[in-house]
């Protein structure tokens, strides 16, 4: 395994020999990488490769079996409110009685304090974030009455309202319409200007190659980490995706037939290389 060290310091998010998992199985094994401040990282890998586990470990939801995660050089426990997480759609209880504004306002709770009402300044941030994501007109609506794309934008608006240093998005491009996908990508561009570090897990290898600075290829272990053209090499792709790959005329095709509610069909990613 030849991992290219990215010589940027100070790295703002560092993982050192991180292993984590549920009930005996280790979904993540000895992951080590460092993300410099403001980078945009695509996390890719086959289903069950540990992408969601990685995110759960990063937010502190899953205790580590071994290793250390550091943000700004300090371990996870010492940080409050600098990591925002946009959950996968299935993780949210859409029948919960909250409106769009309620959800976005939750993004300010870490800053307002737990016992006080949101200040006028907090409310202004909430309003601005709803407008940025195009959900201000829906502010009074219960989240269960929105379309899938609108629901995702609400959670993006909440992540913005947290004013995070690190933003994690779990499969934001899966099962949403083209305009929501575009809105999400535009948000990523704006966050780059604000020097927010972003980690996005995705099945869309093409998007990962075109729109991200760094690609993190996982299959329980870290298979490759670096710029897209370094990671998208035949040997890496085969190592990570194994039987899901097919070599056609020197182009590796990855067949990721997805689970759940997605359209039947295939997400194809291509990796140039001489196979």
């Amino acid at each position: 395994m030849n991992l290219k060290e990215i010589p940027t310091s100070p790295a703002r998010l560092e993982l050192e020999n991180v292993s984590a998992g549920y009930n005996g199985t280790l979904a993540l094994q000895e992951i080590t990488f460092a993300v410099p401040h403001g980078q945009r990282v695509a996390v890719i890998g086959p289903n069950g490769a540990g992408k969601s586990t990685l995110f759960k470990a990063l937010v502190g939801l899953l205790p580590l079996r071994s290793g250390v995660i550091r943000i700004h050089g300090q371990t996870l426990r010492q940080h409050q409110d600098c990591v925002a997480y946009v959950p996968q759609r299935e993780e949210v209880d859409w029948r919960f009685p909250v409106t769009v504004r309620d959800v976005v306002t939750m993004g300010r709770f870490g800053r307002t304090g737990w016992l006080r009402r949101p200040s006028p300044a907090d409310q202004a941030v909430v309003e601005r974030c709803m407008q940025q994501m195009g959900v201000a007109a829906l502010a009074q609506k219960p989240i269960g009455e929105l379309s899938g794309g609108q629901q995702q934008r609400v959670f993006l608006a909440r992540a913005l309202a947290q004013e995070p240093h690190i933003l994690l998005m779990d499969e934001p491009f899966t099962g949403v319409d083209a305009s929501t996908q575009e809105a999400t990508l535009q948000l990523l561009d704006r966050l780059r200007e604000e020097r927010v570090t972003v980690l996005v897990s995705t099945h869309d290898l093409d998007l990962a190659a075109r729109r991200f600075d760094v690609v993190c290829l996982l299959n329980h272990r870290l298979v490759a980490y670096g710029a897209p053209d370094e990671v998208f090499r035949a040997e890496h792709i085969r190592e990570a995706f194994g039987g899901q790959t097919l070599s056609i005329d020197g182009v590796i095709v990855v067949d990721q037939c997805c689970s759940g509610e997605e359209e039947p069909g295939h997400v194809h990613g291509q990796a140039g290389g001489h196979g």
């Binding site: 502190g60 016992l115 219960p142």
Partner: protein
């Protein structure tokens, strides 16, 4: 009409019973919103039954029944949490085991007493007309405590219920809050004991909150409507109990069920008949 309403109130024990039922109705309904939204109905029922051995031990030792009940409920709540956190058994299995064991232990202890039948039926189905002035003061104190905690901790409880991942990213003490909610639930069940009894307290937790869920779109509104439904059920149930001479706990729960059926059929936008129309 006025006489019809005021006549029962000429008895002091009915005044006390009505006040106790009213407070219990409101507190159960408010904390019940979290029970419904977090799918804790089974846990609530189990906690209620788990109180039995605590009450029995307190009775045998001549101590305060309320303290005994509270100790048992808190022990079982934390026991369920610990047993299921290991992941060896699922939570509903853990609840089932502890709940049946506690109930059996309670019945076994109570059956050693001489006044077995009467005491057991009071614990199982309540005896709201036996509320003493001291009981009433204790109920009032605990009601204020539970409602105060729910209001004060509105934001943390909202976040751990709606989005545990956000709670984790905000570094909230999730375990502590979850256990605190269980303790508040246990307190609520303890004060409900005399009004509706172990057997019916789950209904007081779930039915008004489920009714309010169908009629509201935000949690604060759900809590307010739930409290109103709980209060109305208690008052209407007490009068029905007086005039129709039925058990008061049962009358209160049946009234709440009536409200739920109305909401289920006619709730704007959500009711069965509304959707068809």
């Amino acid at each position: 009409m006025i006489h019809w309403l005021l006549d029962p109130l000429s008895y002091a024990f009915i005044q006390r019973g009505l006040l106790a039922a009213l407070m219990v109705g409101v507190v159960c309904a408010v904390i019940g919103c979290y029970v419904v939204l977090r799918s804790m109905a089974y846990l609530g029922d189990a906690l209620a039954h788990a109180i039995l051995p605590g009450v029995a031990v307190a009775y045998l030792m001549g101590g305060s029944l309320t303290v005994g009940a509270l100790a048992a409920a808190v022990l079982v709540a934390l026991g369920i949490g610990a047993l299921s956190r290991q992941g060896t058994v699922k939570e509903d299995t853990a609840i089932g085991i502890l709940f049946a064991a506690a109930l059996s232990l309670g019945v076994a202890l109570i059956s050693t007493m001489r006044t077995y039948a009467v005491d057991l039926s009071h614990i199982l189905f309540g005896n709201v007309l036996g509320v003493s002035a001291g009981d009433l003061a204790l109920t009032a104190g605990l009601s204020v405590l539970v409602l105060g905690a729910v209001l004060l901790l509105y934001k943390p409880f909202l976040v751990i219920s709606f989005d545990p991942v956000l709670a984790a990213t905000l570094r909230m003490p999730r375990e502590l809050l979850r256990n605190l909610l269980l303790v508040l639930l246990a307190l609520t069940i303890v004060i409900s004991l005399q009004a509706v009894g172990v057997g019916l307290v789950a209904a007081m937790l779930v039915t008004p909150a489920a009714t309010a869920y169908l009629l509201s779109r935000r949690l604060p509104a759900m809590m307010a409507i739930s409290a109103l439904v709980g209060a109305l059920s208690s008052v209407i149930g007490m009068y029905a109990s007086y005039y129709a001479n039925v058990a008061s706990g049962a009358a209160i729960v049946l009234t709440a069920t009536g409200f739920f059926i109305l909401a289920y059929l006619f709730a704007p936008g959500r009711g069965v008949l509304w959707k068809k129309g």
